[in-house]
Symmetry: C2
Subunit: 180 residues, 2 copies
Amino acid sequence: MAQRNQLKYIILGLLSEKKLTGYDITKAFDSDIGEFWSANHSQIYPLLKRLEDDALITHELELVGEKLEKKLYSITSAGKTVLREWLSEPTPEISATKDEFILKLYFIHSADDPLLLPMLTEQHQLHQAKLTHLKNQMSRKFPDETSQNNLGHFLILQHAIQRETRYTAWLQDIIDKVSR
Amino acid sequence: MAQRNQLKYIILGLLSEKKLTGYDITKAFDSDIGEFWSANHSQIYPLLKRLEDDALITHELELVGEKLEKKLYSITSAGKTVLREWLSEPTPEISATKDEFILKLYFIHSADDPLLLPMLTEQHQLHQAKLTHLKNQMSRKFPDETSQNNLGHFLILQHAIQRETRYTAWLQDIIDKVSR
DNA sequence: CCCTCCATGTAACTGGTTACATGATTTC
DNA sequence: GAAATCATGTAACCAGTTACATGGAGGG
């Protein structure tokens, strides 16, 4: 997608909470944020430089051990303004959910197609695993059902769990009908 | 996404049903397939050329009126093989659902944030509209609840309707809690 | 004759992935 | 001392968007 840099806002959003290195930001996509977005370090480092050029962030050097200097980035007030503006803007797009399985399914015209059942069971397993993972995340991050100072994260997890629950149920339903 | 060309398979899939021009394929993304995928003609035309170079499709010229020649593309048997192989392959990725609203929500930490309620109501309206549209599509395309020779399309519509139903209910639930 | 739709292309640019490349620190 | 992890970058490439560009056919 050659769209308006959304990664930019993720970085600003993360830095608005605390100071982070490029490496920390990269890591964030393996955990929390990885649940619904992805990015590689090769994309992050150049973007950090660009954001600093635009004065939305700055960095200070921190010495680790003898030689290793890491760059601790923090958001500037200009950066905070840009972030807040983005949050305030309307979000009128409903992304086209590019799910490859759904795409394949579109080209399965008949219930008799021998590919159908294997496809369905594979996806069911995947989404079941994802659901389990999400539920674990939920009980790890929000053990006492209070969303504390992290309402957004709580809601997103809740949303994802509902989505995967619905997805697996849908698949199960088709499996039942097809294999009957 | 710089991933394995999925558009390629969409084109092969569409051509496996009937002969189409580049224009027809472009149009397909405004209706049926547009429900879950998007593509521009500027991406389609060069790809058609590439697929023809790879002998997965061919074209014949058809004269319209006096001068206008349109290219009617059809799939070759090599193309059919490639399509079938793609359908047979596992689909082990769960795409990261890049939903900008979800992203924004992640950075809303408190229920007191004045941006929260407007965001929620905006999204509720959008997804409600989408749901209505999908239901219309369903009754237009499958008026008598039989999925005929188009099982895949039927299932995808069903899935999308369930997804949007779930999405709007989730939003409504948060709205109720926040505005209470 | 004008407007809409049919029809096909190219160019410039941005976003994102994969691969290349290097070196320090920590842990076992 | 070896392996895993921390830490930062660049280069090549592919996917996808926006804009540029052209012209015929059909309907009113």
